[in-house]
Symmetry: C2
Subunit: 236 residues, 2 copies
């Protein structure tokens, strides 16, 4: 997740970006490879739990992020931090797994720890939860999210077995640490009574909700969800 | 450099690409980060000299390239290999430096070794040289390239100090291991008498030759060079 400060506070340099902080919620490639793209000697703070920082420290390629400009800052579960004035973020554990490239012989795909986290963002009297990867939605998680104004949630797959069905891979959503939208225990069912603005993010290219005419897309929208798209801006 | 096999030989899978081999000529981020994008369980061979393989091996993020599908193959200076039937490649040392993220306190920017290599491609009676990074053009390099049909050459900067001049950075082209086009010892002068089709590649976004109306672009074209662009296809 990238956080943009008020551009009037930090006028962008010729090669600058409005990004003043990056928070890693997971160590997988789709969460960290973008760091290699914002390496043009511009300053930002990089926040991650210990496993995320360990990946950044142990992979020499990330040294392209000059430590004089990019501060590495460890964050801890259930401990608020303030990456921008007026914005408080609290990371919390969600069911997930270790990054793919660090998997061993056995993998706990519903591990609860600091490998995969959600973020609770609070500022100006509003609360938003950002959860791009989540293997299941237990009751305690629903309780934890109670009262948020906005939920940004893992929309990787529609069906658990859709990669096999589409011939794009063998792994299930569950094996990848991602709950499906569809099904008795899917996110649509689990959040059916959840009162908040709800937006699916982190949508895999096998997910039929990306197809404009798909009935699955219509169903998601009819059930009160929005579907994230490039360039989307959110105001609370 | 990515090499595409005849697509009739390897029909692309649903998530396949026509890429059957990748050859690393340098360990810098702009040469290796693309590997993280072609990680969709498709098979290809990855060729690199020892320092390049060392980067891939020592950075755990590259484990996303499944070793069951992506064979790592070490190549050696002045030793031909055949990544595709009918195509022979011979790597050769060119003046350059170690990858930015592995730089120590002192850096030899004109080192000759296997950190930065050029590739001589030969097939169907033609020869092409691929040199995306090169700090200087000594006489021996001109001799080595004598008789090629095609030269693809380092076009990073127009002037050695153009990053400072444009306010985009402090480093000179020389400090980055890249000869300038312009100037008495620049590549335009050094290759002025060179008989081959010549194409500038690896062009930095500070280089004025990318501007359609720039006099520097007109000069480069007038001096017999082509300027690489996305989607360019080359037939010899």
């Amino acid at each position: 997740m990238q956080l943009a400060a008020n551009p009037q506070m930090h006028p962008p340099a010729l090669r600058g970006t409005p990004i003043s902080a990056v928070v890693l919620t997971n160590g997988d490639i789709d969460h960290i490879a973008g760091l290699l793209t914002i390496r043009e000697k511009t300053a930002f703070d990089l926040y991650a739990t210990q496993p995320g920082l360990e990946i950044v420290e142990s992979n020499s390629v990330f040294r392209v992020l000059d430590t004089a400009l990019v501060q590495r800052r460890q964050i801890d579960l259930d401990t608020p931090f303030e990456p921008l004035p007026g914005l408080t973020i609290t990371p919390f554990a969600v069911p997930g797994k270790v990054a793919l490239f660090l998997e061993g012989e056995t993998v706990n795909v519903e591990e609860l720890g600091d490998q995969t986290v959600g973020l609770m963002l609070e500022g100006a009297g509003h609360r938003a939860a950002y959860i791009p990867g989540c293997a299941t939605v237990p009751d305690w998680l629903l309780d934890h999210l109670d009262g948020v104004d906005l939920l940004l949630f893992d929309g990787t797959v529609w069906n658990n077995d859709e990669m096999a069905q589409t011939g794009t891979g063998q792994k299930t959503g569950a094996r990848m640490g991602h709950i499906s939208m569809n099904g008795e225990h899917g996110s649509l069912a689990r959040f059916a009574q959840f009162e908040a603005r709800k937006i699916y993010i982190h949508i895999n290219n096998t997910n039929p909700i990306l197809q404009p005419e798909a009935p699955e897309r219509a169903e998601v929208l009819a059930r009160g969800w929005e579907i994230a798209a490039d360039g989307m801006e959110i105001t609370l």
